[in-house]
Structure formats: structure tokens, C-alpha cells
């Protein structure tokens, strides 16, 4: 297994290099001039030129790329062109909110969606099934910001149980952390609950007709065990896949939710950086995300083998 992990991670290195190169080129092909953002509206072309010069943006692309990769190799991700903050500091500041949001969202999601999907499949064709599916479809066809605003209106403004916005570190205490993360996590969870509940239902339906389910019932096991141990485990692979890719997506930041709840997360950082053409930040973020994806996908793949012993790599 260790060998497998090492092989996987080694295989990712060339990919990350290609991603880095691709993003680097993509960014330089995209119009936009960090100098203009720094200088503001009234700057003259000469002043812009001076700033560009200083930022090294006038160097040939090859030189720029070599400089950047050289820095990377020595562990230096550079500084933001705009704010001059070291990129690592920026990412470090944004990591906790994003991670917190992703984890809490996933917890909510898993707690709700899997039972929903299982019950819907179990009660296939009944009103319960239709109701669960209708609710979950609403989950992903309502824009996130609408869900967010509605939750804020109900729980933060009308009922005043949670704050409207903001983020507190979990190290400041559980409640201050939790009361601020609940609504954004719920908001985001609606999408994932919808997706995962439906995925669970679909996968379960494929499994519930199998003979071993009949065996499990013949053994006199409770319906809960039949569903959750025998059926769900067999249905787990596609569910794990969407959980994994969904989680990975959240780790790379979810702009709208972060904006609506004013969470200082990676999603906002990414969009801000893209809109400001803050090259070093974008490049580092994408490298980081692809690294995270590599790890998460590795974990998913390992969990496949754990869930289904027939799967080999």
C-alpha cells in the first residue's frame, strides 16, 4: 500500500508541473495588468510601465517562468503583487475558514443525505421517495446565495440565534466557531445533500435487488443492518466518489457562500487574485489545489479498495 501511495504521489509530480506551466501560460495570455490595479485610475502609461518593470512583468515569459520555478524549488511561493504579503501567509490565513466550512458541511451532508438516499431507495416509488427527491432537487436548483440569504433572514435576523456573518477560529472556543459556521455550512450542504442523497438512492436501487440482500433478510437481520451494512456498502463506491470530489471542490473554496457569509476563505482569495491578476497568488493556489486533489483522490481510491475488496489497482 505504501508503495502504491508513493507511486501515486510520484506520478502526480509531472502533472503538477504541467498544471503549473499551463496556469502560468493561461494567466499571461489573459489580458489584465496587475500594474493597473496597483496604480489606480489616474496613472499615466509611464507610471504603469515603471510598476511593471518593478514587478518583473516585462521580462520574457521564459525568464519569468524560470524565476518562479526557481523560487518554488527553494520553497518560496513569492509575494502577492498587489499587497506584497507573502503568498504562503495569505493562504495560511485563508485555510482555516475553508477547511472548517468544508468539514462541517460534509458532516451535515453525510448525516442527512445518506439516510435520505437510503430511505428513498428503500421506499422506492412511494410518496416518501418522491418527497425526499423533490426536496433534494430543490437543493441544487436554488442558487446558493438565495439559500444563504433566506437562512440569514430566518435564523440571524428574525430569530437572532446565530450571527449574520463572519468567522471565528475553533481555537477561540467551540460555540463562537460553531454559531458562525452553522449557516454557511447548512447553505452549502443543501447542494451536497441533494447530490449525495440522489446518488445514494440511485446506487442503492441498483443494489437492493441483489440476491445477497435477500440472504441478509433471510438471516433475520434488522432492516437497518440490511440497508446500511449490506446494501450501502455495496453502493458505496459511486457515493464515495461524489463525496470525495465534492469535498475537494469545497477545499478549493466556494466563493458565493464565502461571500454571503463573509468567511475569509480560499474561494474569495482565488477570485480576488484572479480578478486582480495577482499571478503568484493564483499560481500558488492552483498548485495547492491540485496537490490537495491528488491527496483527496488518493484517499478516495484507497477507500474504494476498502469498501469493495474486488477493486484492485
Amino acid at each position: 500500500m505504501l508503495a502504491y501511495i508513493i507511486r501515486r504521489i510520484l506520478a502526480s509530480i509531472p502533472v503538477m508541473i504541467v498544471v503549473a506551466l499551463f496556469v502560468f501560460l493561461l494567466l499571461r495570455l489573459t489580458p489584465g495588468d496587475p500594474a493597473a490595479i496597483i496604480a489606480g485610475d489616474m496613472a499615466t502609461p509611464a507610471q504603469l510601465e515603471q510598476i511593471r518593470q518593478n514587478l518583473g512583468l516585462n521580462e520574457p515569459l521564459v525568464t519569468q517562468f524560470i524565476t518562479w520555478s526557481g523560487q518554488l524549488l527553494s520553497g518560496d511561493f513569492g509575494r502577492s503583487l498587489i499587497s506584497k504579503t507573502p503568498v504562503l501567509t495569505l493562504i495560511h490565513q485563508r485555510l482555516e475558514p475553508t477547511l472548517s466550512l468544508a468539514i462541517v458541511t460534509m458532516l451535515f451532508t453525510l448525516l442527512l443525505s445518506i439516510p435520505m438516499g437510503v430511505v428513498a431507495a428503500w421506499r422506492h416509488g412511494t410518496l416518501t421517495d418522491s418527497a425526499i427527491m423533490a426536496i433534494s432537487v430543490l437543493g441544487f436548483s436554488i442558487p446558493v446565495f438565495v439559500t444563504g440569504y433566506i437562512l440569514i433572514q430566518i435564523f440571524a435576523i428574525d430569530m437572532r440565534v446565530f450571527p449574520i456573518q463572519g468567522f471565528r477560529s475553533i481555537f477561540d472556543g467551540f460555540w463562537p466557531f460553531f454559531e458562525r459556521i452553522v449557516l454557511p455550512a447548512l447553505t452549502l450542504a443543501t447542494i451536497y445533500i441533494a447530490l449525495i442523497a440522489r446518488m445514494t438512492r440511485a446506487a442503492m436501487l441498483d443494489v437492493l435487488g441483489e440476491d445477497y440482500i435477500r440472504t441478509a433478510r433471510a438471516k433475520g437481520l434488522s432492516e437497518r443492518i440490511v440497508l446500511f451494512r449490506h446494501a450501502l456498502r455495496n453502493a458505496a463506491v459511486p457515493i464515495l466518489t461524489v463525496v470525495g470530489t465534492g469535498f475537494a471542490l469545497m477545499i478549493s473554496g466556494v466563493v458565493v457562500t464565502e461571500s454571503v457569509f463573509n468567511l475569509p476563505g480560499l474561494g474569495r482569495l482565488t477570485v480576488d487574485a484572479i480578478l486582480a491578476r495577482d499571478y503568484p497568488v493564483i499560481q500558488a493556489l492552483i498548485l495547492l489545489t491540485s496537490g490537495i486533489y491528488v491527496v483527496i483522490n488518493l484517499l478516495i481510491d484507497i477507500s474504494y479498495a476498502f469498501m469493495d475488496p474486488r477493486i484492485r489497482y
Partner: protein, 561 residues
């Protein structure tokens, strides 16, 4: 014919009265047309009959496990210890299962959960229905696994179903059904995949439990030998009806119905036939020093592999039948799968018509595929549940250039040849009985008109009359086309009747190899002798409705005569 007895035998463990089962949907078709049967405490009742006659459906109905929506009880009663199963609530049914009645399913491959270890699947029965501690459960599991004669119990415990041989899975199923020592045991062809020695042990184990706890057994089988050995009473089924029933002696000696008589006369004799004249010396398939070791290491743990086959040397000539018999788990299917190149042998060579195929790539192998075909031991899973039977059968011929129409016409013919209605072509595999599925698998293999046919327990789920019909068919094809057959079986009677040569395998190796008459008639090896002695029903001459003088003297253990 059974109706008269109603009500005079109170205290029966199982009473089925006028059970009618119909298919679901808008135009229900009857599957069972008023079946009645009863099983008294401690009694062993055998249910025999034509493949597809409704034996499994009857047993599933009893367990309350008919596939929802597809089949449903439309009238009749099923009483287990006086309690009606048909109208029982789901939770009550759950309580009844496993504690009062348990079932061994016909197809063990699909009946076991592929993603849970064997230990886990056994363990949960105990934790659901007993108060045992973890340690107690563990030792109980190991006990029962060794009781059903599984070798290497520790490995079995941690294995997943796909890592076991067909017979091993079947024994796991048996262990699962027996572990709680139920009042009523329904066994649906529980020993089809077992070699006769193991089968004998298992039957003895069941008899022991019966003796000890008074368990009633409803035993579904095609093996008249087994029936003769174990049954107290017999029900004969056909077309969803019970056509005859009575104590074992009456049925065997004096069957009333033509159908029953036919059934008995079709039982093949244990005495080997003479080898047929060779029609050719052309070697179509040979293996040298073939060996296969399954790597047991998973992503999580490293373990030494399982040696499933070692030094296997076989030669198959055109038009001949080579039988492979032997212990369950001795590597028969492994050899078959290697020969088919479905798995890559770890050592040795395989020559198909002088072409070495052990190391060929998938692509290079494709032209060779047409020449060698296989009937899988587990027909259920080898048929894609989403394809219609017709699609499955015509797939191969179409691959090799047949027109879809021609292939379909041929498929219908084949279905009829194996005793299925031509309209079966548009149905899906799950709508058939175990034996019907097996015949579909046979039809699929035959559709390819191969040079070599590897048949892995190809007739085990068939009742003797259908079996005879299918064997005749094979014989016929062999005669016409010169197909060479590699015939894996546990049924020594079948082996005796159709094989020219026989290989006996044990522990992954060939222990004896020679002409059938030699090997079965005058076994040299102790293991072969053991096998022959364990053959069920050896004391009975079925076609003549009378007992045989037993060569080894005295009736076989477990026989109730």
C-alpha cells in the same frame, strides 16, 4: 392428492396449503398453482422435480422472500409452527427467520455479500440473534466452519466470497444457515457444488443436528442418490404443481406417476461406460506444469498467496471428453479459468491447437477465443442481469461475424434444445430458475460452436431428466462437430456416463489420471476410492426401482431405509 391429509397432522413445523404464486405486473401468470406440503418435526422432506417447476419459489415464499413486485402469493397459506408467514408483519418475519427457519440458497455466489468478509457475514447472524460475547462468537464461527469441512478456517474467515471456490461458498452458506440451529431448515440444492465426500460429511452434519434438536428439513435436490440417502418423505413437483408425494420407499420402489418414473429411470448409473473409440489423435488443448497461485495481499495487508493449482498436465484430444472430478476447492475452476485465459496462470504453459496462449495479450487472444468456450460454474452472475437472454447468447456469434438475425434464430433453436421455450429469449436472467439459467449458459457456449468446451459444473442444477437431455445434446454435438469437452463435475454418475478420461484432483494437484473405466472402476489412489465410496445412493438401482447389493457391504450412513 395431498389435500386429504390436511388437518390430521397437527404440530407440523411447516404447512403449505394451496399456495398460489403469480408474477407481478398487469397480466399475472401463475408460477405455483396451489402447492400443498407439510413437514413434521424432525422429518426430512425432499422436494424434487423438474428444473423450473417452482421448488425455489415455494421455498422463498415460505421464507417470505419472494422478489417484491416480481412474484407474489395470491392465495394459500404458509404456516410455520402454526404461524402464518404470508400475513406476518415484516418485523415478525424477521424474528421468525434465522431463529425458527433458515434457508440455504441455491446460488451461493450471488447469495453472499461480495464486500463483507465471510467472518463478518457469519458473525452478524450471531450478534443479531444471540447474546454471545465477541469471543464466543468468534469461536462459534470457527467451529461451524470446520464442521462444514472448510479447510484453512482462518483464511476462510478473512476471505471475501470471490476468493472462494464454488463449493466453499456453498459451505459458507450452509454454515450460515446452521449456525443458529433453526427449527426448520430449507435447503435449496445445498450440495450441488460439493464433491461427494464433502457432501456426505455435510449430510451427516445435518442429520446430527436433526437428531440433536429435532430440526425439520425441507431439502430441494436433483440428486436422486441424495434423496435415497436422506429423505423420509418426498414431494415431486412439476409445472408448479405437486404431482406426487409419499414416503421415500414408496416413491423409489413404486412411483405412481409417469413423470416420477421417468425421473428415476433417467438417473445415470454409477458404473462407468466404456470409453468411446477415438475419432482423432489431434490434441486440441494441453497444459504443462500449469500452476496458479492467488495473491492474497490486498492494498492493506501483505499475505502469502493461495496455491490453487500446481503442476497440472492435461491433454485433450478432438472429440473426447475429459472429466475433472475432485475435492471442492481443489483448483478445478482455477484450471478452467486459466485454460480460458480469464486469469493469467502464474506458471506453466497452455497450448490451444499448438498455439501457446499462456502469455498472449488480450488482443492476440481474441481470435483464439472462438475456439474455446466455457460454461461457468455460477450461471447467475455470468449472465449480465441487464441484458436479455437473447442478447447474451447472440453476443459471441455476432462478435465473430454472424448476422444478428441468424444469431437470434440460432439462439432460439439452442434454447429449445436445452429445454427452454424459445420465447425465453426476450426475458432477463433473474426471471428464470437456477437450472434454467444454467441451461442458458450452456446455450450461450454452444452458440459459439467451439472446438473446446470447458464445462464447469454445467449440469449440476438440472434435474435428471433435463440433465439427460442436455448430456445427450452434448454427446450429439460432440459426435457431429468433434468438440473436445473438459467436463468438471462432482457428480460421479455423470462423469461415469459421459467421460472418456478422468482426472482426479486434490489440493491443487492431479492425483489420478486415466480412462474413466480405469479410474472409476478400479481406482488406484486412496482418495479416488474414498470418492467413489462416498457417492450417494450407491445402494439403489434407480432405473429398476430396487436396491443394489452394496459392494462394500451394509447400507451407507445416514440412509433412512
Amino acid at each position: 392428492m395431498t389435500g386429504q391429509e390436511t388437518n390430521d397432522r397437527k404440530g407440523d413445523v411447516l404447512v403449505v396449503e394451496n399456495l398460489v404464486v403469480e408474477t407481478g405486473g398487469r397480466r399475472p401468470a401463475p408460477i405455483l398453482n396451489g402447492v400443498s406440503l407439510r413437514v413434521a418435526p424432525g422429518e426430512t422432506v425432499c422436494l424434487v422435480g423438474e428444473s423450473g417447476s417452482g421448488k425455489s419459489v415455494t421455498s422463498l415464499a415460505t421464507m417470505g422472500l419472494l422478489p417484491k413486485g416480481a412474484l407474489a402469493v395470491s392465495s394459500g397459506r404458509i404456516l410455520v409452527e402454526g404461524e402464518d408467514v404470508v400475513s406476518a408483519s415484516p418485523s415478525r418475519l424477521r424474528q421468525l427467520r434465522a431463529t425458527r427457519m433458515s434457508m440455504i440458497f441455491q446460488e451461493p455466489m450471488t447469495a453472499l455479500n461480495p464486500v463483507l468478509t465471510i467472518e463478518r457475514q457469519l458473525e452478524e447472524v450471531l450478534s443479531a440473534h444471540s447474546q454471545m460475547s465477541g469471543a464466543e462468537r468468534r469461536s462459534r464461527i470457527r467451529d461451524i466452519l470446520s464442521l462444514v469441512r472448510l479447510p484453512d478456517v482462518e483464511r476462510m474467515c478473512r476471505s471475501y466470497p470471490h476468493q472462494l471456490s464454488g463449493g466453499q461458498r456453498q459451505r459458507v452458506m450452509i454454515a450460515m444457515a446452521l449456525v443458529l440451529e433453526p427449527k426448520l431448515l430449507i435447503a435449496d440444492e445445498p450440495t450441488t457444488a460439493l464433491d461427494v465426500t464433502t457432501q456426505k460429511e455435510i449430510l451427516k452434519l445435518v442429520a446430527d443436528i436433526q437428531k440433536r434438536l429435532g430440526t425439520s428439513v425441507l431439502f430441494i435436490t436433483h440428486d436422486m442418490g441424495v434423496v435415497a440417502d436422506i429423505a423420509d418423505r418426498v414431494y415431486v413437483m412439476r409445472h408448479g404443481n405437486i404431482v406426487e408425494d409419499g414416503p421415500i420407499g414408496d416413491i423409489l420402489k413404486d412411483p405412481k406417476r409417469d413423470y416420477t418414473r421417468n425421473l428415476l429411470t433417467a438417473v445415470p448409473a454409477l458404473h462407468p461406460r466404456e470409453a468411446r473409440a477415438r475419432i482423432s489423435n489431434e490434441v486440441v488443448l494441453s497444459t504443462t506444469e500449469l500452476g496458479m497461485t492467488y495473491g492474497a495481499s490486498s492494498l492493506f495487508r501483505k499475505r502469502a498467496g493461495t496455491v490453487a493449482a500446481k503442476d497440472v498436465n492435461l491433454t485433450l484430444t478432438r472429440g473426447r471428453t475429459l472429466g475433472v472430478v475432485g475435492e471442492s476447492g481443489s483448483g478445478k475452476s482455477t484450471v478452467a479459468r486459466c485454460v480460458m485465459r480469464l486469469i493469467d496462470p502464474t506458471e506453466g504453459s497452455i497450448r490451444l491447437r499448438n498455439q501457446e496462449i499462456a502469455g498472449l495479450s488480450r488482443r492476440a487472444l481474441r481470435p483464439a477465443r472462438k475456439r474455446i468456450q466455457m460454461i461457468f460454474q455460477d450461471p447467475n452472475r455470468s449472465l449480465n442481469p441487464r441484458l436479455t437472454v437473447g442478447d447474451s447468447i447472440t453476443e459471441g456469434p455476432i462478435n465473430y461475424g454472424a448476422s444478428p438475425d441468424a444469431a437470434r434464430t440460432r439462439a432460439k433453436e439452442l434454447l429449445e434444445l436445452v429445454g427452454l421455450p424459445a420465447d425465453a429469449i426476450d426475458r432477463h436472467p433473474h426471471q428464470f430458475s437456477g437450472g434454467q439459467r444454467q441451461r442458458i449458459a450452456i446455450a450461450r457456449a454452444l452458440a459459439m460452436e467451439p472446438d473446446v468446451l470447458v464445462a464447469d459444473e454445467a449440469v449440476s442444477a438440472l434435474d435428471v431428466s433435463v440433465q439427460a437431455q442436455v448430456l445427450d445434446l452434448l454427446d450429439d454435438i460432440q459426435a457431429r462437430l468433434g468438440v473436445a469437452l473438459l467436463f468438471i463435475t462432482h457428480d460421479l454418475r455423470v462423469a461415469a456416463q459421459i467421460c472418456d478420461d478422468v482426472v482426479v484432483m486434490q489440493h491443487g494437484r492431479i492425483v489420478e489420471y486415466g480412462p474413466t473405466a480405469e479410474v472409476l472402476g478400479h481406482p488406484r489412489e486412496a482418495y479416488t476410492r474414498e470418492l467413489i465410496e462416498a457417492a450417494p445412493g450407491r445402494h439403489w438401482d434407480f432405473p429398476n426401482f430396487r436396491p443394489l447389493p452394496t459392494p462394500s457391504g451394509g447400507p451407507v450412513d445416514g440412509a433412512t431405509l
